[in-house]
């Protein structure tokens, strides 16, 4: 579904991603871990199409399409979703109004009819229940004054509404208490099926207790320096990143 080959990207003169290779197939859950500043969010942003990063080398194929050629909204239309590490607050735009626009624009991109008011409301009710989102949150301005946990829940709620093929979750667990982590994980697990895939970016094993990955990768200094199964996450939890750093430096 997603295949990243030798991806280099940076900002101005700063090289951040230095040759990423990663393949994700449908039905799989991948986790990327790595120390602060290693390039995890940059990778997520480049995949979602954030313009201020410049791709200098490499290719990304998503469901047979050249992803890097598409505008961010086209990528969303193709089924890519990024849950932001830092969701943006937009005063004056209600969450409901926003998500309705998003759902219908994605449908339009896919050549589907827009949802009517009844259909939209039904879908929204269902996903609200799933994410334990109170109605009051949705009629407020998007993310404005939301707690950290509410913002992250709102991200997964949007994912559930948009039903992407590949969901990238950038530190969706950070700042969440254990109950909120459980709600978020439950949302993701309900979403998972054999036709979609999830890429989880996290620092902690604890989320991976709930969202069990098939593969774990360690991103360090712009490269994936180690890949393995979920045992790798446990090992990282135990030993910290230093053993990876030492391994890399030894090479």
């Amino acid at each position: 579904m997603l295949s990243i080959h030798n991806l280099h990207a940076g900002i101005e003169d700063k090289k951040i991603l230095k040759g990423i290779n990663l393949t994700i197939n449908r039905g799989e859950v991948h986790a990327i871990m790595g120390p602060n500043g290693s390039g995890k969010s940059t990778l997520a942003s480049v995949l979602a199409g954030r313009e201020h990063f410049e791709v200098t080398e490499g290719t990304v194929e998503f469901d047979g399409k050249n992803l890097l050629e598409l505008a961010p909204e086209e990528r969303a239309g193709e089924g890519l979703f990024l849950a932001f590490q830092y969701p943006v607050e937009i005063p004056g735009l209600t969450t409901t109004n926003f998500i309705k626009t998003a759902v219908n624009e994605v449908r339009k991109y896919r050549g589907e009819e827009p949802l009517d008011a009844v259909g939209f409301l039904k879908l929204m009710k269902e996903k609200m229940a799933l994410m334990e989102m109170p109605q009051s949150l949705l009629s407020r301005s998007l993310n404005e004054g939301f707690s950290g946990g509410e913002k992250k829940r709102n991200e997964i709620f949007q994912m559930a509404m948009l039903q992407p093929k590949l969901a990238i979750l950038d530190e969706t667990d950070s700042g969440l208490d254990i109950d909120a982590i459980r709600i978020v994980a439950n949302g993701v697990n309900k979403f998972r099926n054999e036709n979609n895939a999830v890429l989880v970016i996290t620092h902690y094993q604890r989320l991976l207790d709930y969202i069990v990955p098939d593969y774990v990768h360690v991103l360090y200094n712009g490269r994936i320096v180690k890949s393995g199964t979920r045992d790798l996450a446990l090992e990282l939890e135990e030993k910290g990143y230093d053993f990876i750093k030492n391994e890399v430096e030894a090479v």
Binding site: A48, G49, R50, E51, H52, A71, P72, E73, R75, A76, G77, F81, L82, F84, P87, V88, I90, P91, G92, L93, N97, F98, I99, T101, A102, V103, E105, V106, Y109, S141, Q158, L162
Partner: protein, 436 residues
């Protein structure tokens, strides 16, 4: 003969005709003032960034008894939603037209020609308040309106009455056959404890230039409550100087929203004079300009007495070559302890050629006050754009959503539902249309 000389000559002639006694003196004084000051040029401190003198390089016809060619259909075309329930006052080329106006029978307020009010039982209210704005707008353009005060309107809202019909005021300019200079004038008096909603709008019919030099003075007696909306969406060949001057007596409440969506050169003066303790006022403004439009909002809140509160928020979105000015004065007189005065001006520039000149001007002579001001000029938030687009929202819709969101905290202060929906529709059309 130059346009200004021509205007002066016509004014002197009118003045010698002895049309009525009540307004003769105030007109004469204004004529003398205009004679001295003329049309303000950019050397005038208050007109530094707004050039109207150039607009007087062409001739204008001024309404002075000529027959008007406006039809009922013309008026129908510009009525605002909710008009069925409103008192509708129509000015044609600056002169109040009784035949086109529609006043519901009611017990709450009186609407009569200003000339009449100046000569009947309202004479003392008129002489006390008419022309008060000239103490704040010390320029020839204000004097010009007063000197040409023929065909104005006087409104008196009775004591403790809540007007059951809003007042819609249409300023219609018929420039089909000539350039028109229109100079509407109104005086609105809210007696103690009364309440009224006023909505003003402007429409030029015809392709020649129009210049509307309008003054409305509103006086709020104790405990009176005013909601005032100004909607400017006139043609690109229509310019105007529009002065709204509010005098507040104790514990009165003024709520004003100024929406400016189009026009050539548009200058608004909004003066709020808080003459007694415990007055409250809210000043909201939204301007969306493009093309070569110029919008200038000059606001002034004068805290004369203690314990008054004012809150001001003006927001603008400027595209193409549009230019804007925001000048917000807050005066706190020595007596005006415990003043609370807040001011904010926020702008989004959508093009490199658009610009806004924003200037807060606080002059505080009391020591126990809370005042704040702030201004921002920026572009659409890139992070927000990316966030929306990453959810599948097209660039065009994302821009439109963000601009709507930006305008929202002004829009929510338009309380009459019909008017808010109307403005919202205008804005939506504009935003759809403007975005690439």
């Amino acid at each position: 003969m130059s346009t200004v000389d021509n205007i002066k000559e016509q004014l002197s002639r009118l003045q010698s005709e002895q049309r009525d006694s009540g307004l003769k003196n105030i007109r004469q004084n204004a004529l003398n003032a205009f004679d001295k000051m003329g049309i303000p040029n950019t050397r005038h401190e208050e007109w530094k960034y707004t050039r109207i003198s150039a607009l007087f390089n062409q001739d204008y016809q001024i309404q002075n008894g000529q027959p008007v060619a406006i039809s009922a259909q013309d008026i129908d075309a510009i009525r605002l939603p909710g008009h069925e329930n409103a008192h509708e006052l129509v000015f044609v080329n600056g002169v109040f037209s009784q035949p086109f106006s529609k006043i519901h029978p009611n017990q709450e307020l009186v609407i009569i020609p200003l000339e009449e009010a100046a000569n009947n039982e309202y004479a003392s209210i008129v002489s006390e308040n008419l022309g008060h704005s000239s103490r704040y707008a010390k320029d020839g353009i204000n004097a010009l309106n007063t000197a040409w005060m023929y065909g104005g309107v006087f409104i008196d809202v009775k004591r403790a009455k809540i007007a059951s019909h809003p007042i819609y005021i249409y300023h219609v300019t018929d420039s089909r056959t000539a350039n028109i200079l229109a100079q509407p004038r109104s005086l609105v008096h809210l007696n103690e404890g009364s309440q009224v909603q006023v909505v003003e709008t402007f429409a030029t019919i015809g392709m020649q230039s129009s210049f509307t030099n309008q003054v409305i003075e509103l006086v709020l007696e104790e405990d009176a409550r005013l909601e005032y909306y100004k909607i400017q969406n006139d043609a690109v060949h229509a310019s105007q100087v529009s002065t709204t001057h509010v005098r507040q007596r104790g514990k009165s409440f003024a709520h004003t929203v100024t929406i400016s969506l189009n026009g050539n050169v548009v200058r608004n003066n909004l003066n709020i004079i808080m003459e007694a303790p415990y007055c409250e006022s809210h000043l909201y403004g939204l301007y969306l300009q493009k093309g070569n439009s110029h919008i200038d909002n000059h606001t002034l809140v004068d805290n004369v007495k203690p314990n008054c509160y004012s809150n001001e928020l003006y927001k603008g979105i400027m595209d193409e070559n549009a230019t804007g000015v925001f000048n917000g004065k807050i005066f706190v007189r020595q007596d005006a302890q415990k003043t609370n005065a807040y001011q904010s001006n926020k702008n989004i520039l959508l093009s490199n050629n658009a610009s806004v000149n924003t200037k807060p001007q606080l002059e505080i002579f009391a020591d126990d006050v809370k005042c704040s001001h702030g201004c921002t000029i920026g572009s659409l938030d890139k992070e927000a754009m990316f966030y929306l687009r990453s959810r599948g929202v097209t660039e065009k819709s994302a821009r439109s959503l963000l601009m709507h969101a930006f305008a929202d905290d002004i829009m929510e202060h338009i309380k009459p539902e019909a008017i808010r929906q109307y403005v919202d529709k205008l804005i939506s059309e504009r935003l759809e249309f403007d975005t690439i």
